[in-house]
């Protein structure tokens, strides 16, 4: 396979993802029993169901609904929430929730990245793998419940700033260590470097007095980017559980609330937001792959001289 095929596939996937996700959700709306308009206003006891459905473009079929939503979204108009915060601006909900989720993932990525660096540089010895593996066996849900109880006992049920910070830090801790996030990063990166270090060119580089890392890094960069993307996606999916359990006002919590109440005015943009994040990660991975490939191909080629 030519070197540019993989990055190209990722680029195409990154472009399609933000459109495909809302399209699939739109189809789901029609596949689900009942519709949001009739939940708020059951036709049996309420006279305005049809007018409500028309207002929300639910009467125009999946394509009509999807195209209307897409047009609005492209102009930055996500409308108002149907049920999660009835009448509240969805754009404002997103603006309020997105920073919390980004911060949560950012904080959760810290131990993951540190673990990867520690493993790559040999700072984290192999003998700690066992305990790390055991920690990683704890499911995010269980750890989140424990953290929620600790926060609740120490801060009560209010919504003060210290309490929110405690929830955020606790959530990051859960995401960073539960479900094998940290131990997976350590063992994955260690395994990658160990197998690369067994390559002949590394031995030759060592004989030449070069460090193994400077030689292996360009070759494993693409794989590392792939691992990082997978870990970030893993954290992204974990945010839903963590945010719901810890009552963090983030995108995951918003998505859960919207899905639970069939508030598709909220579900569509939030899911699209997750798709955009995923697309961004794909783009980063593709970029790293391209840069690594170009770098490797720019390396001086040795001319073979006959003895």
């Amino acid at each position: 396979m030519r070197w540019w095929v993989r990055p190209l596939v990722r680029l195409v996937a990154a472009l399609l993802l933000p459109v495909a996700v809302p399209a699939i959700i739109t189809l789901l709306i029609w596949a689900l029993p009942g519709d949001p308009a009739s939940i708020i206003c059951p036709p049996e006891s309420c006279g305005g169901t049809e007018a409500l459905a028309a207002r929300w473009h639910l009467d125009e079929g999946p394509w009509g609904f999807f195209s209307q939503w897409m047009m609005g979204a492209l102009s930055g108009d996500f409308g108002n929430s149907w049920r999660v915060l009835q009448g509240g601006s969805v754009a404002e909900l997103l603006a309020e929730a997105a920073p919390n989720t980004v911060m949560l993932i950012g904080l959760a990525l810290l131990p993951v990245i540190l673990g990867a660096v520690g493993a790559a540089s040999g700072l984290i010895p192999r003998k700690v793998d066992g305990p790390l593996y055991l920690i990683g066996l704890v499911p995010a849900l269980v750890l989140a419940l424990v953290v929620a109880a600790v926060v609740q006992l120490n801060f009560g049920a209010g919504s003060s700033d210290p309490e929110q910070l405690a929830r955020l830090l606790g959530g990051a801790l859960v995401l960073g260590f539960a479900d094998g996030a940290f131990s997976g990063a350590v063992s994955g990166v260690r395994g990658l470097f160990e197998s690369e270090n067994r390559q002949r060119y590394v031995s030759i580089a060592i004989l030449r007095g070069e460090t193994p890392l400077s030689n292996t890094l360009p070759n494993v960069a693409a794989a590392l980017a792939g691992q990082l993307r997978a870990r970030t996606l893993h954290l992204l999916s974990g945010t839903v559980v963590v945010e719901v359990v810890l009552r963090i006002n983030g995108l995951g919590d918003l998505l859960w609330g919207g899905a639970l109440r069939q508030d598709f005015a909220v579900v569509l943009p939030v899911a699209t937001g997750f798709a955009l994040l995923s697309a961004f990660l794909l783009l980063v991975q593709a970029l790293v792959e391209i840069l690594a490939s170009v770098h490797i191909r720019r390396s001086p080629s040795l001319s073979v001289v006959a003895p």
Binding site: G34, A37, S38, I39, I40, C41, P42, P43, E44, S45, C46, G47, G48, T49, A51, L52, R55, W56, G79, N80, S81, W82, R83, V84, L85, Q86, G87, G88, S89, L93, E96, Q152, G156, A157, G158, S159, R247, N249, R261, Q262, A265
Partner: protein
């Protein structure tokens, strides 16, 4: 005269400024769905909206007298099919604009607009015919028919015309989260709570600067938090946690008359239960005393029990409750067996069969009821199981309850455990009338009985309180025999408030109607 409203308003503002400025926080059962009164779908919504809006007429919390804070004078018009209302002068919306008759007529027209997707408006469409302004403050509201208690029919909240583009009002308008009312507080709903800021008006002088509504969650956390002064109030304390609250010197339990009663609706269209003897037998298999003890923790013979048995569709304190109908407190398995056998059911291997097929009862319960009566569903299942019925139990979410159960589409269930809550007007016609057109809109299992319909029609046509009572007393007797519902109890609702909150009179059903008189902290 023009000086009077201004002086009152200034006085109210001064009183407000004299307050402590502290926020009074309280736990609600959930966050309100909407702050727009047209889209109230739960008691939480009603309570929150009562802080923000003025209802045209309301009942006094103590005397039960029909009162209005916004109506200056009124008179019956059109031979009883209308009412001419003059609003008080100087009333203001939260944006400072004046409340006028145009707003009153706008509210009526919004409810009459068939596009407005509001079950509440749908109810008013049967009562109201129209509204026309007669000057700045006077409006003539017309009814679809002559009512013996017309003002009782006008308990809706007034909406500001200027906040809407037309009479087609939808729940997703920003008004639902940032409403503009004329009530004592200006409300603003966020993702995790609602903030209510005091708004001094001619007719309101709230003494508390700010109220904060938070979602309650686990009852034990709520109780611990109020005891530790994390919040100052809890709207509903489940019976099991009341002793702990009572033991605190700093928190007081207060009664909240919700006029709500619990029931088990029986599906009369289910093959086994079409025969009323089977329903009567089920009624005899239910041991209410045991149920009450196991789920609520109320012991037999306990004084001041939070749970009061009922024998019909009214609470015992209601004028419609027929005291001639006895309550069934204990089970009577022998009699139940006789009835089941007489109805043609056969008992094989300890299980009842209908025409050779074993009866498997599918029982559902409105999920939030489990907070008030833990394990009730299981206990009911156990009692019916001990009576010889196989059963399958499931909890039903609020959404599904509203969408399927209330609209009569949950016909796959045999029994449904639920609770109805009422205001002063305990109109149960929608629960039992044959579902047809505008009648029987909350008839869970589409129960239909011409005799019952006739009695319900008598209630609708009643022109006096006595006639209305007579009709519902008859209904009570019929219900106790027909048993489309197995009536359980009225479970009293108790709130908990810290003692720093003073003069906190709780209004039945709407709760905060007398909030102006509440005091908190070092304020007067």
């Amino acid at each position: 005269m023009a000086m009077r409203p201004a002086l009152l308003s200034a006085g109210a503002t001064a009183l407000l400024l004299a307050g402590t400025g502290a926020t009074l926080s309280y736990f609600e059962e959930a966050l309100p769905t909407s702050l727009n009164p047209l889209f109230a779908s739960s008691m939480v919504d009603f309570r929150a909206q009562d802080l923000v809006f003025d209802r045209l007429w309301y009942h006094d919390a103590i005397t039960n007298e029909l009162k209005s804070r916004v109506v200056d004078k009124w008179e019956i018009a059109n031979g009883g099919a209308g009412i001419k209302i003059t609003l008080k002068d100087g009333l203001k919306w939260h944006d400072g604009k004046q409340v006028t008759a145009k707003d009153l007529c706008f509210t009526v027209n919004a409810m009459l607009d068939k596009r407005t997707p509001s079950p509440m408006a749908e109810g008013y469409r049967e009562v109201l015919k129209g509204c026309e302004t007669q000057g700045q403050l006077t409006a003539l509201v017309s009814f679809t028919k002559i009512y013996h208690n017309p003002r009782d029919r006008l308990g809706f909240a007034i909406l500001p015309e200027s906040a809407f583009e037309g009479t087609f009002i939808t729940p997703d308008l920003s008004f639902s989260s940032q409403p503009k009312g004329s009530g004592p507080f200006k409300g603003s709903r966020g993702r995790r709570g609602v903030t209510f800021d005091a708004f001094a008006n001619v007719h309101h002088a709230p003494q508390i600067a700010q109220l904060g509504l938070q979602e309650g969650g686990d009852p034990i956390v709520q109780v611990k938090t109020i005891i530790n002064n994390g919040v100052q109030g809890i709207i509903a304390v489940p019976p099991a946690y009341r002793p702990e609250v009572s033991s605190s010197d700093e928190v007081a339990l207060k009664s909240y008359d919700l006029r709500s009663w619990w029931f088990i609706a029986v599906n009369p269209n289910s093959p086994a239960m079409a025969d009323k003897r089977v329903r009567q037998a089920l009624n005899l298999l239910i041991d209410r005393t045991e149920l009450r003890q196991l789920s609520i923790g109320a012991k037999p013979g306990e004084q001041n029990s939070p749970c009061e048995f009922i024998s019909g569709p009214f609470v015992q304190s209601s004028p419609y409750y027929n005291r001639g109908v006895a309550v069934s407190e204990r089970s009577d398995k022998a009699k139940a067996r006789q009835l089941l056998t007489a109805a043609g059911l056969t008992e094989v291997g300890g299980r009842w069969h209908n025409k050779g097929t074993p009866i498997d009862l599918k029982i559902g319960m409105l999920a939030p009821l489990n907070n008030e009566a833990p394990d009730l569903l299981t206990q009911i299942g156990n009692q019916l199981g001990a009576g010889g019925f196989a059963r399958e139990e499931s909890r039903i979410s609020v959404d599904e309850w509203n969408r399927k159960v209330v609209t009569g589409q949950a016909t796959n269930y045999d029994l449904l455990v639920g609770k109805w809550s009422f205001g002063i007007v305990e109109d149960v016609n929608d629960l039992f009338h044959t579902r047809a057109g505008k009648e029987g809109k909350k008839n869970i299992f589409n129960y239909s009985n011409p005799q019952v319909d006739a009695v319900l029609d008598d209630f609708s046509k009643a022109r006096t309180d006595t006639a209305a009572q007579d009709a519902y007393h008859k209904l009570h007797t019929l219900m106790a025999d027909e048993l489309p519902y197995l009536f359980l109890w009225k479970l009293d609702t108790r709130s908990a408030w810290r003692t720093e909150v003073r003069n906190n009179i709780i209004t039945p059903y709407f709760y905060f109607t007398e909030i102006d008189g509440w005091r908190f902290g070092s304020g007067k």
